[in-house]
């Protein structure tokens, strides 16, 4: 059965890593769906694409881009957009998402999700780029809230108002990364609870949960790094439960990209997320 054109269920899913292939195929019920990074599957052929062809017949797939550079001041890379279209056309993922960030500049692709000031100039560019992406791939995309470490004097609006305007102008949906809320709000010394309360939750198509690193800045204040190399921390689980109590169950990704652990560790994180989703299903 081809699941890929079916909706990713409101269950816990996991970021797919090839080293977990056997674990996932042995216990397919332990994850409701899989997320892949689009750019890892843009080769011409080979075992990675073969695995994905196999997996898409067994699991709903969400496709997460990390290379479009939606927040770029310049134009989108049309060659890259064409590669994305080719992938999305055959994979037919039930969700495609990208980041409110930029990575590419004249000097090259910097392989990090870089921040942009929230003002009308960035807003116009981001909307233009999202329109272009949705037009080329022929489907709605979700835009993910970023983890940020700095602020811009040029910002004239907050992130929530910025995201609301992007949604209103482009018709895109949102991917809410709860860990990113916690990281950004801690780093900006603002309230994560207030951010969550103000978030336009009716546009959320997917949720991300991940781990971070804790450091301190030059003034001894906490500086959290969105490193995707750790367990989800308790305050993030609490924010997540608050969110799900308000929205009802949503597709929720356990995102672990660095120092990837053995499968049982991820399976346990998936169970914890599923428990919260189950509780809220019963409550509603």
């Amino acid at each position: 059965m081809i699941y890929a054109d079916k909706t990713v269920p409101a269950r816990a899913g996991v970021g797919y890593k090839p080293q977990h292939l056997n674990d996932i195929l042995t216990a397919p019920d332990s994850t409701g769906w899989l997320e892949i990074h689009a750019e890892n599957y843009m080769g011409d052929g080979g075992p990675q694409l073969a695995q994905l062809r196999h997996l898409r017949e067994r699991f709903p797939i969400s496709c997460h881009g990390v290379g479009l550079s939606i927040g770029s001041e310049g134009s989108l890379d049309l060659e890259h957009l064409a590669r994305l279209k080719k992938l999305v056309d055959w994979l037919n993922p039930s969700i495609f998402s990208e980041h409110l960030a930029w990575s590419s500049h004249d000097i090259g692709f910097l392989n990090d999700l870089l921040p942009a000031p929230y003002n009308t100039r960035t807003l116009d560019k981001v909307c233009e780029h999202i329109d272009q992406v949705q037009d080329v791939i022929g489907r709605q995309m979700l835009l993910e809230n970023p983890s940020v470490y700095v602020m811009f004097e040029q910002s004239t609006m907050n992130e929530i108002d910025f995201l609301k305007q992007v949604v209103a102008r482009t018709g895109c949906g949102l991917l809410l990364d709860v860990n990113n809320i916690y990281v950004s709000c801690t780093n900006q010394q603002t309230s994560a609870e207030e951010y969550l309360a103000a978030f336009p939750v009716e546009h959320i198509g997917e949720v991300h949960l991940g781990g971070h690193d804790a450091q301190v800045d030059d003034f001894g204040d906490p500086l959290l790094i969105d490193s995707h190399n750790n367990l989800v921390v308790d305050p993030v689980w609490t924010l997540y439960e608050t969110l799900i109590a308000r929205t009802g169950p949503l597709p929720t990704l356990i995102e672990w990209d660095n120092d990837v652990p053995d499968w049982p560790v991820l399976a346990n994180e998936l169970r914890l997320a599923d428990d919260i989703l189950q509780r809220q299903t019963k409550a509603t």
């Binding site: 750019e39 890892n40 843009m42 080769g43 011409d44 052929g45 080979g46 075992p47 990675q48 694409l49 073969a50 990390v66 290379g67 479009l68 550079s69 770029s72 001041e73 310049g74 890379d77 060659e79 890259h80 590669r83 930029w102 990575s103 590419s104 500049h105 004249d106 000097i107 090259g108 692709f109 910097l110 392989n111 990090d112 870089l114 942009a116 000031p117 470490y149 700095v150 602020m151 811009f152 004097e153 040029q154 780093n187 900006q188 010394q189 450091q215 800045d217 030059d218 003034f219 204040d221 500086l223 790094i225």
Partner: protein
């Protein structure tokens, strides 16, 4: 704005760009350094994943320092990290601290070829009957289409043995003779063989010439070249995709 932000990420001597601040408008300092670190570390990791044997040869610390120089000089041109590091073998030929390891750029060329072969297009081997049907002058005029993953790496060094020593449990002594590696990925598994001059010439020639010409060139390179062994080898390895 993004121009200053981007330049500062690759040049630690540049100040934090204007307008970038921490809470209450105070200096961004370490906060901007998070991005600097993310960029250099993530690109260094991408390079290490692509060049594990280069890393094994020089050690992790030396590799990180060398990669740090490379990633600042040659940031990726595309968002496809699976192909990042194209310029690295050439960079190594001009990196004085590694100059005494003359074979290092060739190790990198070999690893690059392996990466390309891994992600190359899939192709179905041609049925063996197709070769058996070719006779006489037809045989020599035929063009053999090889598997798209096929790569030949020639070196002045025993490159195949150096690679094997540093990435497998096979610690056979490394000789002095030059070696030629043939890399392919006929199905899911990456294959590598140490091949003769004649076989290398034959395969390189087949990529451009009809079979007869390839055979003549191969014999010119190696008087002992045997056509039938080489053809059977390609066929049984699944590297012959079509005959036209």
């Amino acid at each position: 704005m993004q121009s200053d932000f981007a330049k500062g990420l690759l040049d630690p001597n540049l100040p934090v760009p204007d307008g970038i601040v921490g809470p209450d408008g105070r200096d961004a300092g370490k906060r901007y350094d998070v991005y600097r670190n993310n960029v250099v570390v993530s690109l260094t990791e991408a390079l290490a994943a692509a060049y594990p044997v280069v890393k094994a040869v020089v050690g992790a610390e030396f590799f990180a320092a060398m990669a740090g120089v490379h990633v600042r000089k040659h940031p990726p041109k595309s968002p496809l990290m699976i192909f990042y590091g194209e310029d690295f073998p050439k960079f190594l030929t001009r990196f004085p601290p590694a100059a005494q390891l003359g074979y290092l750029p060739d190790v990198a060329r070999l690893e690059r070829a392996r990466r390309e072969a891994y992600h190359s297009a899939d192709a179905t081997p041609c049925p063996p009957e197709k070769l058996a049907l070719l006779k006489g002058s037809n045989l020599f005029d035929a063009r053999l289409v090889l598997h798209p993953s096929l790569r030949i790496i020639r070196s002045r060094y025993p490159i195949f043995s150096i690679w094997r020593y540093n990435s497998t449990d096979d610690k056979s002594p490394i000789g002095d003779a030059r070696e030629i590696a043939m890399i392919s990925r006929p199905a899911d598994i990456l294959e590598m063989q140490n091949i003769s001059k004649g076989s290398a010439m034959f395969i390189e020639s087949l990529m451009a010439d009809p079979l007869g010409v390839a055979m003549d060139k191969a014999k010119g390179a190696d008087a002992d070249f045997d056509l039938s062994t080489n053809l059977t080898g390609l066929l049984s390895a699944g590297l012959l995709v079509d005959i036209i």
